[in-house]
C-alpha cells in the first residue's frame, strides 16, 4: 500500500468501520506526512457533518390505519335510510294482499289460462307385433 489512492480508500473505510491496528498505524503515519490525504480526510469528515446537520422533517398528516370492516362505523345518508324503510313497509303491506286462490274465489280471472292437454300413454310394442303390422 503505497499510493495516496489506496490510503484515501482506507480513510473512507475508516469513517465507516474500525480498521485493524496495523492499518490504522500505517494510515496515521501517512496522513501525518501527506497534505493531499489530510485534505481528503477533512473533506470527508466535513461532508459527514453537513449531511448530519440536515434536520429530520415531520409529516403534515398522521398515519391512517384502516380498521377491519366489522369495526367500521357506517354512515348512511338520510334519504337512503328513508327509502329503505319505505321499501320494507311496502313489502310488509303486500304480504296482507289477497293470494291467488283468494282472487279465484272472488271471481277474478287469472291472467293466463292453460288449456287441458290429454296425455297419451305409450305402451311398449314387441318385435313380433311390429313384424305382423308390416
Amino acid at each position: 500500500m503505497n499510493s495516496c489512492e489506496e490510503f484515501q480508500k482506507l480513510i473512507s473505510v475508516c469513517l465507516d468501520e474500525p480498521l485493524t491496528t496495523e492499518q490504522q498505524n500505517k494510515l496515521d503515519v501517512h496522513i501525518a506526512q501527506c497534505a493531499n490525504c489530510r485534505t481528503f480526510q477533512e473533506s470527508a469528515i466535513n461532508l459527514r457533518g453537513l449531511i448530519r446537520s440536515l434536520p429530520f422533517q415531520s409529516m403534515a398528516h398522521p398515519l391512517r390505519i384502516p380498521s377491519p370492516w366489522w369495526r367500521r362505523k357506517i354512515a348512511l345518508p338520510f334519504p337512503a335510510v328513508a327509502a329503505a324503510i319505505l321499501l320494507l313497509v311496502a313489502s310488509w303491506l303486500t304480504d296482507f294482499s289477497p293470494t291467488q286462490s283468494e282472487r279465484v274465489e272472488s271471481n277474478i280471472e287469472p291472467f293466463i289460462v292453460i288449456e287441458q292437454i290429454d296425455i297419451i300413454k305409450l305402451e311398449p310394442v314387441s318385435a313380433v307385433e311390429l313384424a305382423n303390422e308390416n
Partner: protein, 171 residues
C-alpha cells in the same frame, strides 16, 4: 431499537394497532426525510411513507419480516421512490431547497448540502443518505441494496472523492 421494533411488530400482529402507531412515530420522521431528500417532493414523500407503512401492515398475515423493521421500511420506501422516478426526474431538487430553507436554522449550510445532493445521481445520493444521514452500517446497506460490502465501501469512497474534487474546483 430493533428489539423494541420487533416487540411492537409482534404486538401489531396479535391485533394491537397502537403498536403500529408507535412504530410510525418512531420511524416516520427519518423515513420521510430520506424520501424527501431523495426525491425532493414533500407530497409524494408523504404518500410514499404512508404506502410503506401500509405495505408493512399487509405483512401482518404472513408475520414475516426478513430483516429489521427499520431496514424493511427503508427498502420499501426506496423501491417506491424508484417506481416514482420512472415518472419524475430525481435530479431536480428545486423544491427540496425551499423546504430546507423553511425548516433549518442555517440556510447557507442547507444550500451547500442541496448543491451536493443535487450533483449526485440518485443511487449515490441514496447511499450517502443511508450512511451519513440515517446512520446505517455498511453491512446493513449492503443487505438492503443487495450489494457486497466491498462494493458499498468502494461506492462510498468514490462519492467522497468526487465531492472533494468538486469542492476543490469551487475554491
Amino acid at each position: 431499537m430493533e428489539i423494541i421494533d420487533l416487540q411492537d411488530w409482534q404486538a401489531f400482529c396479535h391485533g394491537d394497532n397502537s403498536a403500529m402507531e408507535r412504530l410510525y412515530h418512531r420511524h416516520s420522521p427519518a423515513l420521510f426525510s430520506f424520501c424527501l431528500y431523495l426525491c425532493g417532493d414533500r407530497t409524494k414523500s408523504e404518500d410514499i411513507v404512508q404506502d410503506s407503512f401500509m405495505s408493512l401492515m399487509a405483512q401482518k398475515e404472513s408475520n414475516k419480516i426478513s430483516r429489521s423493521v427499520r431496514s424493511w421500511l427503508f427498502v420499501t420506501a426506496r423501491n417506491l421512490v424508484y417506481n416514482l422516478s420512472r415518472r419524475i426526474s430525481l435530479q431536480s431538487l428545486d423544491r427540496l431547497s425551499e423546504d430546507h430553507l423553511a425548516t433549518n436554522s442555517n440556510p447557507d449550510i442547507n444550500l451547500i448540502v442541496d448543491r451536493i445532493l443535487s450533483s449526485l445521481p440518485p443511487d449515490e445520493r441514496e447511499l450517502l443518505l443511508l450512511r451519513e444521514h440515517q446512520g446505517f452500517s455498511v453491512s446493513d446497506i449492503a443487505e438492503m441494496l443487495s450489494l457486497s460490502k466491498e462494493n458499498v465501501r468502494i461506492r462510498l469512497y468514490r462519492i467522497r472523492k468526487r465531492i472533494q474534487e468538486k469542492e476543490r474546483t469551487l475554491k
